[in-house]
Symmetry: C2
């Protein structure tokens, strides 16, 4: 069903109404006025329903299982936070935060992501170690772009590890989770671009960028996934006042990408960089990461890409982004050709496409809540963290497109059995109470079943309803058979015109279970199989 339909309706409003928006349209003389408004959801939001909802629930389920497999626990934080909790965390994007009206009491805002509430939760409860996942909606007053799947209300699926651990151990597992999560959803055509903030900072330093300019040059580099180098260089030189030779030196570095091993071998040969304390620390960590990535057998997905910078200020170490050619917005007529799978394409071909998962290490965010001083940089109870956020709406679009291309029919309900009564003529009461009693038996056995909400229903209408539900088994109460303690159980949708199997009423649960098993029909497994692209 369409969830974008809108219709203008007229609602009569009394002048006495206490409602603000209605008051606007009414004169204050008590006369009834007409206020017209459009029946729609707010800008940048939508209803989810029907098959889309089944697919999305399948994705959430797959990711929840993944997170649990890795020892994750889930938390649920309020949809709004005290406004001061969010303040100063999102830089320029703070203007996109939704505020709640001041109706007396505290000032609050809708959460902008799940990371800041997580850091607040960790600090507030004095937690020293946790692996938590959180699947929930976040809110951004962005310009919505429905076609690109960018909404003002959208889901994030986050997994984060907080706590002091040996270097790169949780980081490597997060990358394993990223690979396991995407492949588990049938998305295999992706690369993980990764980089290290400390190496990036070291590069800027050895190229001659002043310390106070590092963040803004980093944010210029961050645009390399959308702009060509020449445009980024221009921004560095003209807007951000860097000498051309500084920009050119940076340019030499940020064009590098390849396996961790390859890029490390290039960078470690650069003595200037190796001797830079920040870069040296980053290089050492990347070396450790390489060992763990090999243990997890995920190196084929990884591209160490020095152009990756990531926008958010709070990252302090490893950063990463999973990109797929599939998610590229159509740019030209060759798009379809580009979308075709190729096994040997390198990471550069993925440049410019949207990311489907991203994250990084942020060691100081919890400390901002635990009493750390932002101006001095001194740590309070700082809890290092590393995490990943799956872009579930984009992943949804990929999967939906795949299912459509396979002409796979997703069933919106889980109904397994439709209960029907056949009969007619003199004294026929429609067996409604009898159908209810059979339904009760099946429900009590955990079997999903329905029947037509009609006292006397004709067979055609009942079969139509069963067919519409797409359920595999029919149970039929015949006018003569039922009073003799008998029912028919019939496989539906087989195209065969048989009468089904005549059984004792008492055996209905057992027989239905066996038919469902024979037909290998299981709503959940179907969706799982389908998500995995099997």
């Amino acid at each position: 069903m369409s969830t974008e339909a809108t219709s203008a309706i007229k609602v009569p409003v009394s002048g006495k109404s206490a409602n603000v928006s209605e008051k606007k349209g009414s004169k204050k003389n008590g006369k009834i006025e007409q206020v017209q408004f459009t029946l729609k959801t707010p800008k940048g939001t939508k209803d989810w329903a029907d098959k889309d909802m089944v697919i999305r629930e399948g994705i959430f389920n797959s990711l929840s299982q993944l997170f649990k497999r890795h020892g994750g626990v889930t938390i649920d934080t309020p949809v709004f936070e005290l406004r001061e909790i969010l303040a100063g965390k999102y830089g320029e994007d703070s203007k996109l935060i939704y505020n709640l009206e001041d109706q007396g009491g505290e000032l609050t805002s809708l959460r902008y992501d799940l990371t800041v509430p997580f850091a607040r939760f960790v600090a507030m409860n004095g937690i020293s170690q946790i692996k938590r996942y959180h699947i929930a909606k976040v809110y951004r007053r962005d310009q919505p772009a429905m076609t690109k799947g960018r909404m003002r209300e959208f889901y994030q699926c986050d997994f984060d590890v907080a706590g002091s651990h040996d270097p790169m151990v949780p980081d490597a597992e997060i990358l394993a989770i990223l690979v396991e999560g995407l492949t588990g959803l049938g998305v295999t055509d992706f690369k993980i671009k990764l980089n290290h903030r400390k190496i990036l900072d070291g590069i800027f330093q050895v190229c001659g960028v002043k310390d106070e300019d590092v963040r803004k040059i980093s944010s210029a580099v961050d645009k390399l996934d959308k702009l060509p180098w020449e445009a980024v260089k221009k921004e560095m030189c003209e807007e951000k006042n860097q000498p051309e030779e500084v920009a050119d030196k940076i340019g030499e570095f940020v064009k590098l990408n390849g396996s961790i091993e390859e890029i490390l071998s290039i960078l470690t040969k650069n003595e200037l960089l190796s001797n830079n304390p920040s870069a040296a620390e980053g290089l050492k960590e990347m070396q450790i990461l390489d060992t763990y990535a090999k243990a997890f057998n995920i190196t084929s997905f990884i591209s160490f890409d020095l152009s990756l910078a990531r926008g958010l200020d709070y990252y302090t170490g490893l950063i990463y982004e999973a990109v797929t050619a599939q998610s590229a917005p159509p740019k030209d007529a060759d798009q379809k050709k580009k979308n075709a799978k190729t096994d040997d394409e390198d990471a550069s071909e993925y440049v410019g496409v949207g990311s489907i998962a991203a994250g990084g290490r942020y060691d100081n965010l919890v400390g901002m809540f635990s009493g750390a001083s932002r101006s001095s940089g001194k740590a309070g109870a700082s809890i290092p963290c590393v995490g990943i956020s799956f872009g579930v709406e984009r992943i949804f679009s990929l999967i939906k497109a795949r299912l459509e291309s396979q002409q796979f029919k997703v069933r919106p309900t889980s109904t397994q059995v439709y209960i029907m009564a056949f009969g007619g003529g003199e004294g026929w009461n429609g067996f409604l109470a009898e159908r209810m009693a059979i339904a009760k038996k099946l429900w009590s056995a955990g079997i999903e079943c329905e029947y037509l909400y009609k006292a006397k229903a004709n067979p055609r209408k009942q079969f139509d309803a069963a067919e519409k539900s797409g359920c595999p088994v029919g149970v039929i109460l015949g006018k003569e058979e039922y009073p003799q303690g008998k029912l028919r159980v019939k496989l539906l949708g087989t195209g065969e015109n048989d009468d089904g199997e005549l059984i004792d009423i008492d055996d209905v649960v057992e027989v239905v279970k066996s038919k469902l098993k024979d037909g290998n029909v299981d709503g959940v497994d179907e969706v799982t199989r389908l998500l995995k692209g099997l």
Copy 2:
């Protein structure tokens, strides 16, 4: 872990900050000022975590399965709606609606319940029939009462049937769902109080209440679950200007309760009432309902209670409320005795306790969005609806208390296997990459496992971590055994001091699966069993 801990912290703030709440505390001279704020969640909200989260997810899962069993599909609507959608739906309680700040664009408010968004969804998409469930948070600026489980942000679990069907057919199934839902969660000590708005209206009419006074007299009756009859009578006579004889006549009716059969037999003998058109229609429907309730075998839970009125204006037919003695707030020292289960207690003993599920029929709400005129009462595209809302936070409290009384240990993680490396001395590297490789094997097989995030971990710390997680199986990589292609698999928490079973590395998935099966250990089933109170 406590989620109510708060700590006052100091955060330095620059006067340049764009943040409103921070600006308040800072002088506008650019000097860094100290702003103190409390690290907490907004009033009436809380974080959910740890075991509470496991129990709550178990409840949601149980109810979702229930709703799917009855042919339900789920929808997801935005957390905020256009303000005019909510306007005029909640009477006096409209003042409890949370508004979003006017930041340019549309005026919006957080949803107050899931029913109005559902009606908006049905009308907007021109849906003629749907069985939908929705588990989501709603928002009310009420005075929070944490001890009673009343919060400003809380979950509702709703199932509603929209569409024109034969009388009382979906209504009866909703009652079956109510019984199945509560008993499926191990709550068996409850009564469903039910009544019919049309009978209630008929009673008021035959008692001499004027048409324009019916709603306010109904709302006085609604207080009978909290006040004695004398207080309600006083309100009717003194505040609502009814003659004493009218109130007394009403009093005769509203004290009636019993089985549908019993109450129907009393009411149908009352000629005045039987001849009232509204009451007659209601009585006919109750007669039909009785047949269906018997088919579903749920009559023992039902009490036809003429004192039930339900606050919301939009109900038009059958109304109901499930109450349990267990949820009674302690009033006196006898409380504990009262809480004890008794099989023969009648419905009157449940009076005054909180309801754990409630709902009713509302045939005109969708029509308000489809173009119906509220002043004239003429219907547009009116879609009759009937639904139930489970009070999941109260049910949560009941279940949690039960688990605590049984000293049942809920595990926060789903971890099944802890992977450990034993060794030491010269050349010992801690087998971290090796543990990762084994973990990868188990994850790929869908098995939940963890290992200590430490390169070289001592055996004691690894066992402690395994024990803390409460997982049933340990996999041990021995310094000598592992290089020979061997592992040990050991059942944990048995108290036995054995060395486990020595196996080939290649067999690890198979052996672990068999151990998990032997131990009959399954996190999900455990919670399910526990929720059912088995």
